[in-house]
């Protein structure tokens, strides 16, 4: 074998590993390793404020978690916000995509307009929304006042605070889903609609009988994205009521999400073991949800 051929062999055999190595090195150390190590930390008693140091307690943190009313409160809030955000996001996104799918002048402007909320920072926007939802001088209450409604203390109630946070999430993500739906809508052959029109189907019927069924994979996919996003919802509840006790998600924990409870246990109580147990439970829940969604999507695709 001459020199060139040997070099060629070396190149095809080993060079690719060199190209993917930077990714796997950095991701392995700072992404995958912490994710896996969380499991080990979750089996320890490990509190930064404890002078005694860390020791293994196996499943004690999980036992404590199951009996912890604050944890269940946070899970309940997460579930409530999931319902309040996912359904409106998908419905509004379908509606907006349908509008944008028409022949619209300055369509780029409108497309950019719907995605604008998604590119703005969650911290800035949540602080802005917290002002808009203010009790005494908030714009939303002022508008409601015009219609004769009283001053709502949005942060104080469970339902009202969930609605306010859901508005922030829906505002931020609807446009993103709308663009995904729009892209798929444009791939639907117009002959389907022409045939339906000839058969006398109304626009509404065409939407529910043709558009929505053909978008089913995207709808399910968007639902998964919205769901996994909801599992780590943290910035909105944290910044909705900024202050010394922000991590509790309101005076009564009325809008503390599971991810925010993880943050509270980890970084205000410095209970790393317990916080890690919450992280593991959340990770498992996320994987189950994403996996279920994937299975459903796959079935529909091959049908």
């Amino acid at each position: 074998m001459d020199k060139t051929a040997r070099r060629h062999r070396w190149d095809t055999k080993f060079a690719p590993y060199g190209y993917v190595a930077p990714y796997f090195l950095i991701f392995g150390v700072f992404g995958l390793f912490p994710l896996l190590y969380t499991i080990w930390v979750s089996m320890q008693h490990r509190n930064l404020l404890d002078e005694g140091g860390a020791y293994v307690v196996w499943f004690d943190n999980y036992g404590k978690l199951l009996a912890d009313p604050y944890f269940w409160n946070a899970m309940g809030n997460t579930l409530s916000l999931w319902l309040l955000t996912t359904v409106p996001q998908i419905l509004f996104a379908l509606f907006i995509a349908q509008l944008l799918n028409r022949k619209v002048r300055t369509r780029t402007l409108f497309r950019m307009g719907v995605i604008l909320p998604n590119i703005t920072s969650v911290a800035a926007v949540t602080i802005i929304f917290a002002q808009l939802f203010g009790r005494d001088f908030g714009l939303f209450n002022w508008v409601l006042g015009l219609f004769g409604a009283g001053q709502i203390d949005w942060q104080a109630g469970t339902a009202t605070s969930h609605i306010a946070i859901a508005v922030m999430v829906v505002w931020r993500w609807t446009g993103y889903h709308a663009l995904i739906f729009l892209a798929s809508m444009q791939a639907i052959p117009s002959s389907l609609y022409e045939a339906a029109t000839l058969d006398g189907a109304s626009g509404r019927q065409q939407f529910w009988r043709i558009t929505v069924p053909l978008l089913r994979p995207q709808i399910i996919f968007s639902t998964i994205i919205a769901t996994t996003g909801n599992m780590r919802l943290l910035a909105e509840p944290l910044l909705f009521n900024p202050g010394a006790a922000a991590a509790t998600g309101g005076s009564d924990r009325q809008f503390q999400t599971a991810a925010l409870y993880l943050y509270e246990q980890g970084f205000t109580n410095y209970d790393f073991g317990y916080s890690s147990a919450i992280a593991v439970v959340l990770a498992i829940a996320t994987v189950i949800v994403a996996g279920l969604g994937y299975l459903v999507t796959k079935r529909i695709r091959t049908e």
């Binding site: 604008l116 920072s121 800035a124 117009s190 996996g291």
Partner: protein, 295 residues
């Protein structure tokens, strides 16, 4: 953006001519425009309102009815932000973080994406599957050990603690791989190999030039994400050495909060992404939409 995993709705071969297609696509009527304009207004309103408040005197925020038009105090408020807090440091840190992360993610994603799409090697599929799988689990959930590591390295409170974990993303590798799959015909690379081109030269002279459009979109997304990142910087940084986002949260959480100041800072912190968005909005929209259908 993980929507890249998704396949498009079943596409049957387009039957009718493009003229018929154009006729079939409904022309937008006045109601459509009215609805779209309302949506546009709703999308832009919070950012606009924040700008309005930042151009008013501090008492404007407590006024009834609320102020809805800009005033003449913008520069005064901006000066106040930079005087009362170390917002200049926050901006500097955010620029360094977002800039470094963007360059690194684009470079390493292009390199790895090229290898995954166009080179054959043992374990390729397993490694690719690992990348896809990790996209499903939010890395935030490993935040406790990550923080412990940073404390161990003595990086806690420093911006390298924010930069280093962001240097690569699974999404980036996957995104570039998908692009290379479609954008570069295998024959082109075969021809290059016949001419005795080393794979790194192929990467440099064939793949990289072809990757420019996708790399630009990835760069835009990465910059915006890095600029807007909140959770990890909040955990690992200290108030004395913030990014823009953590500085905002510190500003907003004082016992007596000057909301004009906070919203002015929020407005300033939004300007860089807004500029990027106004310059490259078309590419950003296109990236999201193609992410949904091409796979």
């Amino acid at each position: 953006m993980t929507a890249l995993l998704e396949r498009p709705a079943p596409v049957k071969p387009a039957g009718p001519s493009s003229r018929a297609r154009r006729l079939a696509r409904r022309v937008a009527g006045p109601w459509t425009y009215a609805a779209l304009i309302a949506i546009l207004a709703g999308s832009a309103f919070p950012v606009y309102w924040s700008f309005v408040v930042s151009s008013q005197t501090p008492d404007a925020i407590d006024s009834v009815p609320p102020v809805l038009v800009p005033g003449g105090h913008l520069f005064e408020n901006i000066a106040r932000v930079f005087d009362t807090t170390d917002f200049a440091l926050a901006m500097m840190n955010s620029i360094i973080v977002a800039g470094t992360v963007t360059v690194s993610v684009v470079l390493f994603s292009t390199l790895a994406g090229f290898a995954f799409a166009k080179l054959k090697f043992r374990g390729r599929n397993v490694l690719l599957l690992l990348i896809i799988a990790t996209q499903a689990i939010p890395t935030e959930l490993g935040i406790i050990p990550l923080y412990m590591m940073m404390a161990e390295f003595g990086w806690a409170g420093e911006i390298h603690a924010v930069i280093v974990p962001g240097l690569v993303t699974a999404f980036g590798v996957f995104f570039m791989r998908q692009y290379f799959e479609r954008a570069i015909p295998n024959e082109l690379l075969e021809a290059g190999r016949m001419d005795g081109c080393h794979s790194l030269r192929l990467f440099w002279h064939v793949a990289l030039p072809a990757a420019r459009p996708a790399a630009a979109v990835l760069g835009l997304f990465t910059f915006m994400q890095a600029w807007n990142d909140f959770f990890w910087p909040l955990v690992v940084l200290v108030p004395e050495n913030p990014t823009v986002q953590t500085a905002l949260s510190t500003l907003a959480s004082g016992y007596t909060t000057d909301y004009t100041l906070v919203l002015t800072a929020a407005t300033i912190g939004t300007v860089p992404v807004l500029v990027v968005f106004l310059l490259f909005g078309r590419q950003i929209v296109g990236g999201i939409m193609s992410g949904a259908v091409k796979g």
